[in-house]
């Protein structure tokens, strides 16, 4: 589904990703772990097409298409979803409006007909309920005044509504309390654990991986993948640290 080859990317002329290669097949969940500042979020932003993140070398193919040739909104319509490490607050724009615009913009790009206000609300309420988010929060401005954990849960509600093919989830577990972690973990499995979908799960901790069992675990350090293994690699990292395992 996703094939990254020899990816080099820089921000303001500073190289961050330095020859990263990674292949994720349909039906797989990959975890990416790695020290602070290694370039994990940068990888997510490059996949999403964030302005200012310049790819200087390498390629990214998604479902056979050249992802780097596509605008950010086109990538979303093609099925890429980026769960943000720091979800953005948008004063004056309600969650409902934001999500309905998002979903209908994607549907429009795929020549599907837009959902009506009522159809959308039904979908959004159901998804909020599954992730145990108060439906009242759908009316509030996007992420404004949400706690850290509420923002992360809201990302998952968005993912549930959009139902992407491929999700990069950047530290979706950070800031979640113990119950929320379980709910979000179950949500990721429910929404994304499917033969035609895949996930890149960026995390620092084993505990999310207890709920969402990865098929493959990678270590990203200094802009490249330095080790790849099975779920046991995450446990080893937790025990021994990056210095030992992935130096």
């Amino acid at each position: 589904m996703l094939k990254i080859e020899n990816l080099h990317a820089e921000i303001d002329g500073k190289p961050i990703l330095k020859g990263l290669s990674l292949t994720v097949n349909a039906g797989e969940i990959h975890a990416i772990m790695g020290p602070n500042g290694a370039g994990k979020s940068t990888l997510g932003y490059v996949l999403g097409g964030r302005p200012g993140y310049e790819v200087t070398e390498g390629s990214i193919t998604f479902d056979g298409q050249d992802l780097l040739e596509m605008e950010p909104h086109e990538r979303a319509a093609a099925g890429v979803f980026l769960g943000f490490q720091y979800p953005v607050e948008i004063p004056g724009v309600s969650n409902v409006q934001f999500l309905r615009e998002s979903l209908n913009a994607q549907r429009g790009q795929r020549d599907e007909k837009p959902l009506s206000g009522a159809e959308f609300l039904k979908l959004a309420r159901a998804e909020a309920a599954r992730l145990e988010m108060d439906a009242e929060m759908l009316k509030r401005p996007v992420n404004v005044g949400f706690s850290g954990g509420e923002k992360k849960r809201n990302e998952m509600v968005q993912m549930g509504i959009i139902s992407p093919k491929f999700a990069i989830l950047d530290e979706t577990d950070s800031g979640l309390d113990i119950d929320a972690l379980r709910i979000v973990g179950d949500g990721i499995n429910r929404i994304m654990r499917q033969p035609d979908k895949s996930v890149l799960l960026i995390t620092h901790y084993q505990r999310l991986l207890d709920y969402v069992k990865p098929d493959v675990v990678h270590v990203l350090a200094d802009g490249r993948i330095t080790r790849t293994g099975g779920p046991e690699l995450a446990q080893q990292l937790e025990r021994e640290g990056y210095a030992e395992v992935a130096a």
Binding site: H73, A77, I90, Q106
Partner: protein, 355 residues
């Protein structure tokens, strides 16, 4: 009138005025009269073409015509005669709709709105066409009277200048919302006097400018009596090489204690080549007052734009949504739902064209 009779931009209160655009508008060759629909509201409908009533297209209701007590203001003094709306507490408060169509050159018209004690009124005005439309509006509100006024400037070209003077009596309320969403230059020039105790004035709007256009407001609110409150909430959105300027002043007289004045002036630059000027001013001579003022200019939040794009929303649409949100709190002040929806639609149409 000759444009030369206007003050020069060396005068502080006129420093941001685009007098060049005003003279160019006054010299505009005749253009075909544009058709404009009235909103679907009950009440009187007045259609003015170049300041002259089109009787066949108008229903006057309570509106009459005559001389209006003059102003000595540079803009106001040129309009002496015009329409008059006088309401008392027993008159039905159906909105009065006024459409001003300009067909080139200059036109001047005065107006007077007089609400007796406890009277309630609503006036909606729309400017379309091309040329220089100059208006002088004098408002007097008696004790407990309430006036809602909404004014939109939608001329594709030319200039609209509004001189507004109001006396707001005891416990009376004036709420006025402007939307500048046309291609014309503009100057909204106002002096509001809170002459009665506990008077309330809300005077604000959104000026959306594009291309090389310049729009501005220059508003002074004078609190002469205690316990009054005023809110001046203005938003300026400037694209390309345009300029939007907001100057708002609050004066609080020595014995106007417990005055509550709020000024919120905010500008949004859609392009780095555009200009927003903000000038909040406070002149306070009383000691027990609460006056909050804020003035900020910024650009669209790039992080929010990318967040929206990453969810599938094209960049231009994301910009439009964020800009709409920026002006929404001003337009939400319009109490009449039909009027508010129309103004929001005009703002959205402007955004679609500009972004």
């Amino acid at each position: 009138m000759s444009v030369l009779e206007l003050p020069s931009t060396r005068a502080e209160a006129w420093r941001w005025a685009d007098l060049g655009a005003l003279s160019a508008a006054a010299a505009m060759a005749p253009v075909v009269r544009t058709e404009h629909e009235f909103l679907d509201l009950p009440g009187a409908r007045l259609l003015f073409v170049d300041g002259v009533l089109d009787e066949a297209a108008s229903t006057l209701g309570a509106v009459t015509f005559g001389e209006v007590a003059g102003s000595d203001h540079a803009l106001g003094r040129h309009a002496r005669a015009g329409w008059s709306l006088r309401l008392d507490s027993r008159t039905a408060a159906d909105p009065v709709q006024i459409v001003h169509v300009a067909t080139g050159a200059e036109n001047h018209l005065a107006a007077e709105i007089v609400l007796a004690d406890d009277a309630v009124g609503e006036v909606v005005e729309t400017f379309v066409g091309a040329g220089w439309a100059n208006r002088y509006t004098r408002t007097t509100l008696g004790r407990g009277a309430r006036l809602m006024r909404s004014v939109r400037l939608l001329q594709p070209a030319g200039f609209v200048s509004l001189r507004e003077e109001a006396d707001i009596g005891e416990a009376a309320s004036l709420v006025t919302t402007f939307l500048g969403a046309g291609g014309q230059g503009s100057r909204i020039d106002a002096q509001l006097n809170l002459t009665g105790e506990g008077a309330f004035a809300e005077y604000g709007g959104a000026l959306l400018t594009s291309d090389t256009q310049a729009q501005e407001c220059a508003v002074r609110v004078n609190h002469a009596q205690p316990n009054g409150s005023s809110r001046q909430v203005w938003r300026a959105v400037a694209a390309y090489r345009s300029r939007a300027s907001l100057a708002a002043a609050v004066e609080v007289a020595r014995h106007a204690q417990k005055t509550d004045g709020e000024q919120s002036l905010r500008g949004l630059l859609l392009h780095r080549t555009a200009t927003v000027n903000l000038k909040p001013e406070l002149e306070i001579f009383a000691d027990d007052v609460k006056c909050a003022h804020g003035a900020t200019v910024g650009e669209l939040d790039q992080r929010a734009l990318f967040y929206m794009q990453s969810r599938g929303i094209p960049r231009s649409r994301a910009q439009a949504i964020l800009t709409h949100a920026f002006v929404a709190d001003v337009l939400e002040r319009i109490g009449n739902e039909t009027v508010r929806a129309a103004f929001e639609g005009d703002a959205d149409a402007w955004l679609d064209a500009a972004l």
